[in-house]
């Protein structure tokens, strides 16, 4: 439904910055603090079908962003033969949704595998929604009589994408004609939804779906009760000594008392499929993004050529994920899956891992 009253939004941005250099430019600080208020932004509105329309566009969205950026430049060593430069930067932004519009208080901006990315009024921008693990007040999961965790009937907020900080560290060394660049980037905080992990559980291909349970028996062995009968799940107090299965602990959904079951690994891992609340991980990481080694051929050697300089450069990208919460999943490569806003990377949707590339470059200057 067209909205004839639609107007453009207004962005008000304030920025305060400081750039300091000391010690003959060998130490520099660059600091910026900014606030950005977006008001009356147009947003899509889903209307209930009985209005006769499916959706319209309305003004009214208010988003407040505050953030800072800090860059440090340091040159600890500077001699004729040896230079060492360090560039470090770190930034943070805190984006809050004050209002969506007069009609709705939340808007869905992306849909993934049984999960949504949603902006909620009066909350941080970028919430992940999906079926969640139901817990008691103390945060202990409820367990049903099938020996499985209980999930919410409706989508709930299960995470938020906003990081506490992002940054990078570049070290650059030059010794005579050789130079070496090491580039690291990192993020602290923020969450993402991992579909790879979920599919590894569902398919039984993940290494965490094998191994021994706390009785010392393989997880995938049949669950046995105390009389040796094969069952799908059994109360831990009643389990046979040779039983397989996964130990599932929590509180009973009916009585609220602590309870634990041994549940067949097939049922257990299958039950977690499409429950986004099980697959939210910390998006913090540290990554060695690039390493490059260069050599400039001495001027003397190329005197007779019509060239000013020749530089040969070996480099490698995507080298080493130094830290991430989940082994093998790189939070720096998560996707803006189905998002109407390309900037919001919120899910790792079982895409192929990024390639590691190696290269050789030759630069001729005339």
């Amino acid at each position: 439904m067209a909205n004839p009253l639609l107007t453009g939004g207004v962005r008000e941005e304030k920025e305060i910055g400081m750039e300091l250099k000391f010690l003959q430019n060998r130490f520099g600080i660059d600091f910026t603090y900014f606030t950005r208020n977006d008001e009356n932004l147009p947003t899509d509105l889903t209307l209930t079908g009985a209005t006769g329309y499916a959706e319209t566009v309305g003004n009214g969205s208010i988003i407040e962003t505050k953030g800072w950026e800090l860059a440090l430049n340091l040159a600890p060593i500077r001699t004729d033969n040896f230079n060492w430069d360090i560039n470090f930067n770190i930034s943070n932004f805190d984006k809050k949704v004050i209002k969506i519009n007069d009609i709705v208080s939340s808007v869905q901006v992306a849909e993934g595998r049984t999960a949504y990315l949603v902006h909620d009024a009066n909350d941080d921008w970028g919430n992940i929604y999906g079926y969640n693990v139901v817990t008691n007040d103390a945060g202990v999961p409820l367990i049903n009589s099938n020996g499985l965790r209980v999930y919410s009937d409706n989508f709930e907020k299960v995470g938020n994408v906003q990081a506490d900080f992002n940054g990078g560290l570049i070290n650059y060394f030059r010794y005579k004609n050789f130079n070496l660049g090491i580039s690291i980037d990192f993020q602290g905080g923020g969450e993402y939804y991992s579909v790879t992990r979920q599919l590894l559980a569902y398919s039984g291909l993940g290494d965490f779906t094998v191994g021994d349970n706390s009785l010392g028996n393989p997880l995938r062995d049949p669950v046995l009760d105390v009389s040796g009968n094969e069952v799908n799940q059994v109360l831990a107090s009643n389990v046979g000594t040779g039983s397989g299965g996964v130990l599932v602990e929590g509180v009973d959904e009916a009585t609220g008392n602590p309870v634990s079951y041994y549940t067949s690994s097939y049922s257990y891992f299958k039950s977690m499929n499409r429950k986004a609340g099980e697959w939210i991980y910390d998006a913090s990481y540290v990554k060695l993004r690039q390493l490059s080694l260069g050599y400039s051929i001495p001027k003397k050697t190329i005197e007779k050529l019509p060239l000013d300089a020749i530089t040969i450069n070996l480099y490698a990208n995507n080298l080493w994920l130094i830290y991430s919460e989940i082994d093998g999943i790189d939070p720096s490569e998560i996707e803006a899956y189905n998002s109407t806003d390309d900037d919001i990377r919120w899910t790792e949707n079982a895409q192929d891992p990024n390639q590691r590339t190696f290269g050789l470059g030759v630069k001729l200057s005339f």
């Binding site: 305060i16 209930t48 079908g49 329309y53």
Partner: protein
């Protein structure tokens, strides 16, 4: 360190405000591909096309167990309960409301009279809306009705009770009948070609059907249902088979009978054993209208009817072994 005193760069401070003026964009925002005036004949045709969907919806036939699914039996086991009503509000009903709005607004009445007299257009739109609302409340119970179709004016329309909707629809139909004048009928009318006499019959028949639906709630011979029923008769509900109202499907694929599509490449539906067994037990001659002999029995030289068992979870029945819906029902026009 002495050099610390050599702070060379001054503190940089900046404060930036950005804004934008109201600008006249000329015709940038006018879409050259859309009409700027309301063509109510087009709205009417569009709205009437959904009758084809309503009368061929399989859910009613399945849930009353008149037909049964042969191989994939989910529908007949009540697994598809969450069908939604939005498509009716968002397509036929809002179009019909637009016809009413524009034919009632003095600013547009002259322009709209090109598509039939204003009163007749409003009457036809009201009758059709009543038809859709009755179908909807029969199927879904409580529905937004009095506050529906108001766009952003009312984004949370209340749900009216079935009783209130029926009450309102009787009034709507009476209003529509009272509006009909001697002017031209609506153009774009694929049901009756703008024949207002036929619309009167349609409206009174609709009233009759609604009264029948209420007859178990108001069984009294002088009660609500009977009163409405008796009101409809003298004003001319359909009185003979010749007056049966059909939705005119066409032969091209965009406008053909969806039931025909169901049987074009597949054989998913047969007459249910519930209906066949009852018709056989009663020696009911209508069986020949609804059903065909099973193909297997015909090829063995002893034609017989056999209904498809209803709602079985894992079916291994063959289409040749059960009675099909008669080709008259599938391929001919479908009565409203």
């Amino acid at each position: 360190m002495k050099t610390y005193s050599k702070i060379i760069q001054p503190i940089l401070l900046s404060l930036v405000f950005l804004g934008c003026e109201n600008v006249d964009f000329g015709d940038t925002n006018s879409d050259p591909d859309v009409t700027t005036t309301v063509v109510s004949s087009g709205l009417l045709t569009f709205a009437e096309r959904y009758i084809g969907d309503v009368v061929t919806d399989e859910m009613g036939d399945l849930y009353t167990q008149h037909i049964s699914q042969i191989t994939y039996t989910d529908g007949s086991r009540y697994t598809d309960l969450s069908a939604d009503s939005d498509y009716l509000y968002q397509n036929p009903l809002i179009n019909l409301k637009t016809i009413i709005d524009f034919n009632s607004d003095e600013q547009y009445t002259l322009e709209q009279s090109a598509y039939g007299s204003n009163a007749n257009q409003i009457a036809v739109a009201k009758i059709l809306m009543a038809y859709y609302y009755q179908f909807m409340t029969d199927r879904w119970g409580m529905m937004p009705y009095t506050e529906a179709l108001q766009g952003t004016e009312n984004t949370y329309p209340v749900f009216d009770t079935q009783e209130a909707i029926y009450d309102g629809l009787f009034t709507d139909i009476d209003d529509a009948l009272a509006l009909i004048d001697d002017g031209a009928g609506p153009t774009g009318d694929i049901l009756f070609g703008g024949d207002m006499e036929r619309w009167k019959k349609f409206a009174n028949t609709l009233k009759l059907v609604m009264a029948l639906r209420l007859s178990n709630i108001y069984p009294d011979p002088s009660g609500y249902a009977a009163t409405k029923f008796n009101e409809a008769i003298p004003y001319g509900a359909i009185a003979s088979h010749a007056e049966t109202i059909y939705y005119p499907f066409l032969s091209d694929d965009n406008n053909d009978n969806p039931w025909q599509d169901n049987f074009q490449t597949r054989e998913d539906y047969a007459i249910s054993d519930v209906l066949i067994d009852r018709l056989l037990a009663d020696n009911d001659p209508r069986i020949a209208v609804y059903a065909e002999f099973t193909r297997t029995s015909v090829s063995l030289g002893s034609p017989e009817y056999l209904g498809m068992p209803y709602g079985i979870p894992n079916s291994e029945w063959l289409a040749a072994d059960v009675s099909f819906i008669s080709s008259d029902v599938i391929y001919e026009s479908t009565a409203l």
